[in-house]
């Protein structure tokens, strides 16, 4: 496929929602004392749509709740409240065998290729386990499917009997991707899939994920803290801060015209590998620390660190609303920083 055709394919999403997240809340209870226990507001009222065939990038700093949101979407963790719809089926209300069947279509790729593979299992068994779990294939047929997927992911199918420690970090991440693909899913949550890898290997995995998306019409939720990778991979971007989506829009709109001050701060903080550009760029430095999700600030959660905060920001919570063409921001003064 030529570069032009592939970039056209990337924007050619038919905008039918595959995943719909409605007012999802995820709280964790921490500790226990006489007065009761503290509650971590990891995800606090998120609405989000992932369209069929697109890559939605979810970006934010550590502790913002992006990984928790990804896990709640694929039901690895139950939501405290709210709904997650997969093709109009409410996953939060689905149990047992029906949920198990739906899970085939939703897979996850994890950050750490060292921790997410069982060191005592041969690679073929790791990749083939989902087939076994769902009773889809066994024996020679399963082996064939595993080897096909290995080939697609750039792994030598002859290595089917090797163990994870015999592979490098980048190859292990390919194993994790192969395991996610073996069931032919339509939706994949990739949680920081390249951040543990060496620079020269990151591009291999990014390119592989793009190829697989074109080839198998996959829909991705791509979770990362690295704004540059998210920009590169995504059709649309959601920016998260302290459990809430603060901005959501097409990659071009968010890149060229960030509306939320936090998005702007993030962008200005990311260095660009160009010394001439860098000498004229200055990061907008935030004062203070990221507040605790146990006791998040009132109203707009960014107001304690926002360079342009006004009294209203600590009093009235700004809704995530559209400013133009589906470009949403939760700010009383969008685009003013």
């Amino acid at each position: 496929m030529t570069a032009v055709a592939s970039s056209a394919a990337r924007t050619d999403t038919d905008a039918t929602p595959l995943i719909r997240v409605e007012n999802v809340v995820k709280h964790f209870a921490v500790g226990s004392g006489l007065i009761g226990h503290a509650v971590v507001h990891a995800v606090d009222g998120v609405d989000l749509v992932v369209n069929t065939g697109e890559t939605l990038g979810l970006v934010g700093e550590s502790g913002c709740g992006k990984s928790t949101l990804g896990r709640v979407i694929v039901q690895l963790q139950p939501a405290t409240s709210g709904h997650v719809y997969f093709k109009d089926v409410d996953l939060t209300r689905t149990r047992g065998e029906k949920l198990r069947r739906l899970r085939q279509q939703m897979q996850m790729i994890f950050q750490d290729p060292y921790a997410s593979l069982n060191p005592r299992m041969a690679v073929g068994d790791i990749i083939g386990e989902p087939l076994h779990n769902f009773g889809l294939a066994r024996g020679r047929e399963a082996n064939k499917r595993v080897q096909d997927v290995m080939r697609v992911c750039g792994l030598n199918p002859g290595f089917i009997n090797r163990y994870p420690h015999e592979f490098s970090g980048g190859q292990r991440q390919r194993i994790g991707i192969a395991r996610a693909l073996v069931l032919n899913p339509s939706f994949i949550v990739a949680d920081e899939p390249v951040s543990a890898l060496d620079v020269s290997i990151q591009a291999q995995i990014v390119n592989l994920m793009e190829d697989l998306q074109d080839r198998f019409h996959l829909t991705f939720l791509f979770i990362a803290h690295d704004l540059s990778v998210v920009h590169h991979m995504s059709d649309r971007i959601a920016v998260m801060y302290l459990g809430k989506i603060v901005e959501l829009g097409s990659t071009a709109a968010v890149r060229d015209k960030p509306l939320h001050p936090y998005t702007k701060v993030l962008q200005s903080s990311v260095p660009i590998p160009d010394p001439d550009l860098e000498s004229s760029r200055h990061p907008i430095l935030l004062t203070g620390e990221i507040p605790s999700p146990v006791n998040p600030p009132s109203a707009c959660r960014f107001h304690t660190r926002c360079p342009i905060a006004q009294p209203i920001c600590s009093e009235v919570e700004p809704p995530l609303e559209s400013n133009s063409d589906g470009h949403l921001a939760a700010c009383h003064f969008p685009g003013k920083l």
Partner: protein
């Protein structure tokens, strides 16, 4: 195993130099050698490390103790494991000074708050009594920088100082290092895998691969006209925030080499898309390729037409 093989470079007073490379490239070993801190059973088997006129390799134990920390300070990736969790932060900074007797105990005590202010720790006077766990990751790294700078060293080595930090915090630490090196005239060696961070901080770049310097030069030259295929490919493998059109990243096929089993010839040739026959057999020397720029390559990127079209 040879982790670092025949490295030569100079750092000028007040200069900021970035050493970039992937895991196993030898960048951290190079930095540890400068402090003679190569972990056992590793040894510096050959070469000289001159600090001014003095050779670090042949310093007595007494001399090296004084040199470490007072002349050259080092800060590490993970500030939590470098700080003592049961001692107050202010006391730890004071100890770093007491260890070198450049200041009296009284002077050292009095310097703690100004140093913490200098690294922009807010409410420094109150925070000297806090313990490391009461500091955030970014603030802990500031404490490490404060300790490093407390004896006014002429060289600060920072080994992946921002890798464990969030991007907004990373930006503030990089700004701090830049300001401090200007204010205090200290040279900085920044060791990182992140080329973008080097672009924003360093005057000069050293690119390492398989224990060797493969390219070296002024930051601008390295980023604008890299001559070694490894440097060239690394720069094009990075997604950029300022990219307008979606272009496929250039990936470097294969893996970094196993240091105990290096290939013959140029150590990068198994992964190089521009290799010629000679690269398989003979290892090139680091040779001058432009003003202040050296590269270790038989081909050189300026001799490749349309490098993007060359398939790996």
């Amino acid at each position: 195993m040879t982790a670092v093989d025949g490295i030569s470079f100079n750092i000028d007073r007040g200069e900021r130099v970035g050493i970039v490379g992937e895991s196993g490239s030898g960048k951290t070993m190079t930095a540890l050698s400068l402090l003679r801190l190569v972990p056992e059973p590793g040894r510096i088997t050959k070469g000289r490390i001159l600090f001014g006129e003095r050779d670090v390799v042949h310093m007595t134990d007494e001399e090296i103790r004084e040199y470490r920390g007072a002349d050259v300070a080092m800060i590490f990736q993970d500030p939590m494991t470098s700080l003592n969790p049961v001692l107050r932060v202010g006391f730890q900074i004071e100890e770093a000074m007491a260890a070198h007797r450049r200041f009296t105990r009284r002077q050292a005590q009095e310097r703690v708050v100004p140093i913490m202010k200098r690294v922009r720790i807010p409410a420094a006077a109150q925070r000297i009594r806090d313990y490391p766990h009461q500091f955030s990751g970014g603030m802990r790294q500031r404490v490490m920088i404060a300790m490093g700078l407390s004896n006014e060293p002429s060289l600060l080595i920072a080994d992946e100082p921002t890798t464990a930090l969030d991007v907004t915090v990373q930006a503030s630490i990089i700004e701090l290092l830049r300001d401090l090196s200007r204010e205090m005239g200290a040279a900085v060696i920044l060791i990182t895998h992140n080329l973008s961070v080097i672009a924003s901080l360093c005057d000069r770049v050293i690119v390492m691969y398989a224990g060797r310097i493969v390219e070296e030069g002024p930051t601008r030259a390295i980023f604008k006209s890299p001559q070694h295929p490894y440097t060239w490919s690394l720069l094009r493998s990075l997604p950029r925030l300022d990219e307008r059109e979606h272009e496929k990243l250039i990936s470097i096929s294969g893996l970094p080499p196993d240091l105990s089993n290096l290939p013959p010839g140029c150590k990068f040739h198994p992964r190089c898309r521009f290799r010629i026959d000679r690269c398989f057999k003979e290892e090139p020397e680091l040779e001058n390729v432009g003003p202040g720029q050296d590269a270790r390559c038989w081909v050189l990127m300026r001799n490749v037409t349309e490098p993007e079209a060359v398939k790996s």
